[in-house]
């Protein structure tokens, strides 16, 4: 340690006060920012649902119960709605710190439990969709960049713009009509056909759970149910990733070291995979972070149409019934996923491109 410090002092331009581990400090700073952001999110969700004219009691109690003041009062007491706003918020954060998201007003179940049943369905769908989008989008982006200003490039520009212009909910309708209703190549809605029973929950991913139990037919059916919604969800991100990958590749492809690699006679394929893609990776990673947010937006619509029992449907149901604990739970979960993904992107960014760590 001591040797390192004296060495540092000897090197000109390197101050002694510089922290020994800039990368860790960078991570710690990001992490603290993340915690504050999470707290801010609970506050936004809380204020939004409270300062509004809508009355949760009216939305969640039956007609008869609303006319009975005692029932309304007990509903308010049960969910702490009779306390002042800061008190309610304080209680909420306190419980949150203990992993308690409260009880949903609709189903009267703990929100964490409900989230637990809805999250895996969305996760299975969203991850597959992002995987498709990354493979296709990055591939097309590289292709467009290599064929810059040629026909392929122009066509891909139109493809990319078409992808981001397509209304997801309409695409879902058209895809269902053609591939399910007309051609009957793929199943329609839900995660499984009724003749299959749900595989025992381990991961919550039906395909993986069924495979683990050796139920091939169930796994196959679950996989076939995933195809349409995953592809529909992927299209927007394919468009997005094509554009950004292309731009990122073009940015590095004119560098001298690429020219040097070419001059050495390294094959074009190797140059693209080893040098260009590596340099373009940080920008592509950032877009993948963005893609997660898009998938959540798409999931609300796609799950609605495909009757997919996931977090998007849960969010929709809670928002339309003003189910306060459920809305906060789902917003919090989605926002946390989003910031965790971005945090992971930052970390990977630092690993790939050490220059980032210092700034």
């Amino acid at each position: 340690m001591a040797r390192g410090r004296s060495l540092g002092a000897l090197i000109p331009g390197r101050s002694r006060t510089r922290p020994p581990r800039p990368f860790l400090r960078f991570l710690a700073r990001r992490f603290v920012a993340l915690l504050f952001l999470g707290l801010g999110i609970t506050l936004v969700a809380f204020l939004l649902t409270n300062l509004a004219p809508g009355d949760p009691a009216a939305a969640n109690l039956g007609q008869r119960a609303i006319e009975d003041p005692a029932a309304v009062a007990s509903f308010r007491e049960r969910y702490g709605l009779d306390k002042s706003l800061p008190e309610q918020y304080g209680i909420y954060v306190w419980r949150l710190a203990h992993g308690d998201l409260g009880e949903s007003q609709q189903a009267r179940l703990p929100v964490t439990e409900e989230l637990g049943t809805f999250i895996p369905a969305t996760a299975e769908l969203a991850l597959l969709s992002i995987l498709i989008a990354v493979v296709v989008g990055v591939g097309l982006g590289i292709l467009a960049a290599i064929r810059q200003n040629r026909l392929t490039d122009h066509v891909l520009r139109v493809v990319s713009l078409t992808g981001v212009s397509m209304p997801t909910f309409w695409l879902a309708l058209v895809a269902l009509y053609i591939f399910f209703f007309r051609l009957n190549w793929l199943p329609g809605t839900g995660r499984l056909d009724p003749q299959f029973s749900e595989p025992e929950h381990r991961t919550g991913f039906f395909t993986i759970d069924a495979l683990l139990q050796g139920e091939w037919a169930t796994a196959g059916d679950a996989a076939r149910h995933l195809v349409l919604p995953a592809l529909v969800l992927a299209l927007y991100n394919i468009g997005l990733l094509t554009r950004y990958t292309r731009a990122a590749v073009l940015e590095v492809v004119h560098n001298d070291y690429i020219r040097a690699a070419r001059a050495k006679g390294i094959s074009e394929r190797r140059i693209v995979l080893r040098h260009v893609l590596r340099a373009a990776l940080p920008s592509v990673l950032t877009v993948i972070g963005l893609a997660f947010a898009n998938v959540m937006t798409g999931a609300v619509l796609v799950e609605n149409i495909f009757a997919w029992p996931g977090i998007g449907q849960y969010a929709y149901r809670s928002a339309t019934t003003l189910d306060l604990p459920a809305i906060m739970g789902v917003s919090l979960f989605v926002a946390v996923v989003y910031i965790v993904v971005n945090f992971a992107v930052d970390v990977l960014y630092g690993v790939i491109d050490p220059r980032i760590r210092v700034s």
Binding site: L37, G40, I41, V44, A45, L48, T49, A52, P53, G54, Q148, N149, R157, V158, L161, T162, V164, S165, M166, P167, T168, F169, W170, L173, V174, L176, Y177, F181, R243, R246, A247, L250, E251, V253, H254, A293, N294, M296, T297, V300, L301, N304, I305, A315, Y316, A319, T320, L322, I327, V330, S331, V334, A335, Y338, I339
Partner: protein, 295 residues
């Protein structure tokens, strides 16, 4: 106080964007014509539509063809007329929405960037908060809370979309504010406001215009998505997103949902073609053509 004999400091100006260059791009031409066509449809819908969009005067669920080019819906309304009238809802509201978001976002971003410090932190942390929610979730909660209506949907989407303008404008103001020509104006005695309005904002306009055009497409997508979910336009309004939702209910009658959806797609595509071409001309760094000149 001017120094006698000193050469006047010439304000640096960005080269005038060559609008003519846009015409060499087919995408710009297609986008512009398509967008113009839709705007004309929105203006002249009453003259173009064969019948009233709300009138239930035909047999229900007639397939396309014959008297009803796009068929009729479950209530016997003419789908073509509903699609044409739909332009009067989506297009002006998208323009309004983007205009409001731009106004709010650009103002806050400019203020944050120019004054920095505490104001900057407040504005940018709020922007971060909005960014932490996926747009549709936040918009869904806001419309659900305010009550489902197209006006509240627009309001919710303004809340969701201002931060991207604030970020871009702030960044640009920060980078331009540090350039020498702004320092020079300030040294010559110009007020902060004058420097901001005369020297900084004109150079911010290009990228912001690109962002706004591309955002128009997104605005239409999100607005129709909210209506699709039943949180925006309410029946019997001939809104496109609501039309697709009807199409899902009457699934086997494909024309009910297909044509309104096609309308959304073509309008959004038009704005995206246009925005993308504008990016080539006004914002060369992030355009699809980036790097072309380097060869």
């Amino acid at each position: 106080m001017s120094v006698p004999g000193a050469t006047p400091v010439r304000r640096f100006r960005l080269r005038r964007p060559r609008v003519a260059a846009a015409w060499r791009q087919p995408l710009a031409v297609i986008g512009l014509s398509l967008a113009a066509a839709w705007i004309l449809v929105a203006i002249f819908a009453p003259l173009l539509a064969p019948s009233d969009p709300l009138e239930q005067n035909a047999a229900p669920l007639l397939p396309p063809g014959g008297d009803y080019l796009f068929g009729t819906d479950e209530l016997g309304r003419d789908v073509l007329s509903r699609v044409l009238y739909g332009a009067r809802i989506s297009i002006p509201l998208a323009l309004l929405l983007v205009g409001l978001a731009l106004l709010v976002g650009a103002t806050l971003g400019a203020v944050a960037g120019y004054f920095g410090g505490f104001v900057d932190s407040i504005v940018m942390r709020s922007a971060d908060l909005v960014f932490a929610f996926p747009a549709i979730i936040l918009a869904m909660v806001v419309t659900a809370v305010l009550g489902p209506s197209i006006r509240n949907a627009v309001l919710a989407l303004v809340i969701v979309s201002w931060p991207s303008y604030a970020r871009v404008v702030r960044g640009l103001v920060l980078s331009i504010g540090q350039t020498e020509y702004v320092t020079a104006t300030r040294l010559l005695g110009a007020s902060a406001r004058r420097a901001l309005v005369r020297d900084v904002l004109p150079n911010v306009a290009g990228p912001v215009l690109v962002l706004a055009t591309l955002d128009l497409g997104n605005a239409i997508l999100l607005l129709s998505a909210l209506s699709f979910l039943g949180l925006g336009a309410q029946p019997p309004q001939p809104e496109w997103g609501a039309g697709v939702a009807e199409g899902i209910q009457y699934f086997q009658f494909w024309w009910i949902g297909t044509f309104p959806g096609l309308a959304i797609f073509s309008v959004v595509l038009a704005f995206n073609f246009l925005g993308d071409s504008l990016r080539d001309v006004l914002d060369p760094q992030s355009s699809w053509r980036a790097g072309s000149e380097e060869e």
